[in-house]
């Protein structure tokens, strides 16, 4: 079967026990080639364990993991050649210089000396560490160490990258740089699996996300798909130039409108929840204009990863209480 038909990362029915504790339970998801997939979830959800299992560092109790059709469990050596792994806590060889650190791994991955030199310079450039190349790793800040680790991860040009909390210690500019870099790598064909607590970062970075809780995948898919699954209502932000007729009354004939809530006391900002389509949204605008409402903003609200996560959290809590 041609590889493009297969997902680049496929996790099926994964189960990981630590003694009697079940860290990951019947987890299944797929990541397409050249896409960025975000794993989110609270502490202890099993994100790091899942990433380590894909990285061949933990042997699952049950289940199957494949990378471009190669079984991680049965052919770990081949799988490792395809992987670049960056753990959540950035350990580095303290007494090596940054370029020596990257060169060590380029060498270990079998790059010839000339190619090694080029690749190390390229990766240090990509991660913004060219100025620090002669510094000892122990003198770097935590964020810089994170960059050095990313450079090391990139040095052998792996088609699959597993990044566990890559932005955890970075400053805002470095986060933006990292996001741009990861997007560029994905557009170059690399498949990236990233776990993060910084949910806003994932919003712009990920093509799809998986929300994990207590070792299980609660939702997986694109942000829109998950938003649709978690709540069928779509939200439109409505703003008027001046207070006018009550929009709830105007829109009441439309049966796809679920609710209209005022966002403040000025009577100019509202949030409309509806189950309609794009055409239905244009019908809403037409109706408002016909009723002489002075609409100055009509904006379908994008679902945010943060909102989805909180929604899932609250759903779960509600479920538990019941």
């Amino acid at each position: 079967m041609p590889s493009f038909r297969l997902p680049m990362i496929s996790v099926q029915d994964l189960k990981i026990h630590y003694g009697d504790f079940v860290a990951v339970d019947r987890l299944s998801f797929e990541v397409r080639k050249g896409s960025v997939y975000g794993l989110i979830g609270p502490n202890g959800a099993g994100k790091t364990t899942t990433i380590k299992a894909i990285a061949t560092l933990i042997e699952p109790t049950f289940g199957e993991i494949t990378l471009d059709g190669t079984s991680v469990l049965h052919e770990p050596e081949q799988a490792r050649r395809m992987l670049g792994y960056m753990p959540d806590f950035p350990p580095v060889y303290d007494d090596l210089r940054v370029e020596e650190f990257c060169d060590l791994f380029a060498h270990a991955y079998g790059l010839d000396p000339v190619r090694r030199k080029e690749k190390v310079s390229e990766c240090l450039g990509l991660t913004g560490l060219t100025d620090k190349r002669k510094d000892l790793c122990k003198t770097l800040s935590r964020g810089m160490k994170q960059r050095a680790l990313l450079a090391k991860t990139l040095v052998h040009d792996p088609p699959v990258m597993l990044l566990d909390e890559p932005a955890a210690n970075l400053d805002p500019k470095a986060r933006i740089d990292l996001r741009n870099l990861l997007r560029k790598l994905a557009s170059d064909g690399k498949t990236i699996l990233v776990s993060s607590h910084v949910l806003t970062e994932l919003q712009d970075l990920c093509d799809a996300i998986g929300i994990m809780k207590q070792g299980q995948m609660v939702h997986s898919g694109t942000i829109e798909e998950i938003a649709e699954k978690t709540s069928p209502d779509k939200i439109v932000l409505l703003e008027f130039a001046s207070p006018g007729p009550e929009p709830g009354t105007i829109l009441s004939p439309l049966d796809f409108v679920s609710s209209v809530d005022a966002l403040d006391e000025s009577g100019t900002k509202y949030e409309v929840a509806h189950t309609g389509t794009k055409d239905d949204e244009s019908r809403m605008i037409t109706l408002l204009v016909e009723k002489r409402a002075r609409v100055c903003r009509f904006q379908p609200k994008q679902s945010k990863v943060e909102d989805l996560f909180l929604q899932v959290e609250s759903e779960e809590e509600g479920g538990e209480e019941k």
Binding site: G19, A55, E59, P76, R81, P87, F105, A108
Partner: protein, 557 residues
């Protein structure tokens, strides 16, 4: 060049390190070597016979260099064996804890290259410090007129020992699940394997003495170092030189350095197998079942070869050989009992270690079941790490029983231990051989097989903590409790103490054997060993039965 060795060079041998470590090595080495050299080369003061005058003999640079040689060797051992081993252990443990080892595990380098990289890259500074002592060694050899062949012989064993210690430390770092404990465990294991275990060599099990450099040093080099110093050739040196000469093994004798190299080679191979498996996959047990069996076969072969001369001809190495006398057959039987107990003790400890290493815990077995199901196999392949270890421990137990049977037959045939004397004085010169009861073969076999079975069942039923807790409670607590009771009660309740102590199989075996040996026992205690043997074997067989039933009847999770 191996990237990990290159890393060691970059990390630990920058110019500042070259200067600091170099100065340290040179200052320490020159101080120790030159002090020993000048002290040794000055002539000794002796009392002139028949007068009260002291006279100094002529100064001898040869004597000085020879005296300094031992000090130099000690310093080199300190650099490579002490500092180097500690370094390898702590770095491996630290990198496992921090996750750096995982990076290396994920690189496509061959596991053997990774092991070589760690063994020679991590202690690179210690090798540099060692290298700076070489000019002193050269001076020592030239001035001391030492035989190059003997020195090369010694250094060959020296480097083999260094590699062995470093590899032990590296493997412990890889194997111990809690990285913080690894550094300590490796130090304890290195100390135990190469310092305490050789003490068992004194009990006739000669191969255990040959894990260090000492046999080659005492057997090959010390005679040469002391050859010129007739006046200072002290009796203790003489004893040591005699002590470490050729090693009795089966019906032949092997030179100490060859024997040391064979021993170290075997251990190095076993450690390399473990390190290779752990580098490939951290989740794999240290040994597979087949490699565990091979290790145990070699272990039993070495035990058999070392004990053969004692059981067949009454010849023993170590302190046992020094003090053993076959003139008194009563003493001979006690020593036989002691050596058999040491043999069983070591074999049981070997079984315990291999059960812990090669038998799967619940989850590993479950993994195997699910994998077999997925692959459409009717059951887990018998040799797989995940398969039940019942057959494995029974083979281990059977090996111990077979070796014991061979040794006991040798003792029986030698007519050195099992003999009886008649009432007349003539019979003292021609004692009659006594036939040992077949139970002396059978009952130890039952005990060993039962112990192996319950250990395996406990290992597979419970996780590490439960297994070690069970083994500790069953083996160590009765031993300590009976010791306390023996001190407290004396011989008043010897039956109870014997029964209690027999829960520990190492203490039960001498009681089992005593019942069937012609050892004179005071009338009031004649039933005590039988009671201990009965209790010990009874408890062991019951435990083996119940735990095995529980293991095989365990509901599917």
């Amino acid at each position: 060049m191996n990237p990990l060795i290159l890393r060691g060079l970059c990390e630990r041998l920058r110019p500042k390190h070259l200067v600091a470590a170099g100065l340290f090595s040179l200052i320490i080495c020159s101080t120790i070597y030159l002090t020993a050299y000048f002290n040794g080369s000055q002539g000794e003061w002796r009392l002139v016979e028949g007068t009260d005058e002291w006279q100094q003999s002529e100064s001898s640079p040869v004597d000085g260099a020879r005296k300094a040689f031992t000090w130099l060797l000690g310093l080199q051992g300190f650099f490579l064996m002490f500092l180097g081993t500690g370094r390898v252990a702590s770095i491996t443990a630290e990198e496992k804890e921090s996750g750096l080892l995982d990076y290396q595990r994920m690189t496509p380098m061959n596991p053997f290259s990774k092991i070589t990289g760690y063994l020679f890259g991590v202690p690179v500074r210690e090798y540099y410090m060692f290298a700076l002592t070489l000019p002193f060694l050269l001076h020592c050899i030239v001035t001391g007129e030492l035989s190059l062949e003997n020195v090369l012989h010694l250094y060959f064993v020296f480097f083999s020992s260094v590699a062995l210690y470093h590899l032990t430390a590296h493997v412990i770092g890889l194997v111990v699940p809690k990285p913080r404990a690894a550094s300590w465990v490796s130090r304890i294991v290195v100390l135990g394997l190469y310092f305490f275990l050789p003490i068992f060599g004194q009990a006739g099990i000669s191969f255990l003495s040959f894990l260090t450099i000492l046999p080659t040093y005492f057997g090959k080099v010390l005679p040469e170092l002391t050859a010129l110093e007739s006046t200072s050739y002290r009796s203790w040196e003489n004893e040591l030189v005699d002590f470490w000469q050729n090693v009795p093994f089966f019906t032949t004798e092997i030179s100490p350095s060859l024997f040391t190299l064979i021993m170290q080679g075997l251990i190095l191979t076993a450690l390399l197998v473990t390190a290779h498996r752990k580098w490939r996959n951290d989740a794999l047990p240290a040994f597979s079942k087949p490699s565990g069996l091979i290790v145990f076969v070699v272990f039993q072969f070495l035990l058999l070869g070392s004990l053969w001369p004692f059981f067949a001809e009454g010849k023993a190495s170590g302190l046992l050989g020094e003090n053993f006398s076959l003139e008194d057959t009563r003493e001979g039987l006690f020593i036989l009992l002691f050596v058999q107990s040491v043999y069983f003790g070591l074999s049981l400890l070997g079984i315990l270690t291999l059960v812990n290493t090669c038998c799967p815990d619940r989850h590993l077995h479950l993994k195997g079941k699910q994998r077999a199901q997925r692959l459409g196999l009717p059951a887990i392949p018998r040799l797989a790490d995940e398969s039940r270890g019942t057959w494995f421990v029974l083979v281990l137990g059977a090996m111990v029983c077979a070796v014991h049977a061979v040794l006991l037959s040798l003792a029986q045939d030698s007519a050195l231990f099992f003999v009886a004397y008649g009432s007349n004085w003539e019979s003292l010169l021609d004692p009659t051989p006594v036939q040992v009861s077949p139970l002396a073969y059978l009952l130890p076999a039952v005990l060993v097989l039962s112990c192996a079975t319950y250990l395996q069942a406990a290992r597979e039923l419970w996780f590490s903590l439960g297994f070690w807790g069970f083994a500790g409670l069953l083996w160590i607590t009765p031993m300590l409790a009976s010791l306390v009771l023996l001190v407290g009660w004396g011989t008043d309740h010897l039956d109870a103490i014997a029964a209690l102590s027999s829960l520990c199989p190492i203490l039960c075996l001498p009681q089992v054997l005593t019942c069937h040996y012609p050892i004179p026992i005071p009338q009031e205690y004649v039933d005590t060993p039988a009671l201990g043997a009965f209790a010990g074997i009874g408890v062991a067989t019951c435990l083996a039965f119940f735990l095995s039933v529980r293991l095989y009847r365990r509901p599917k999770p």
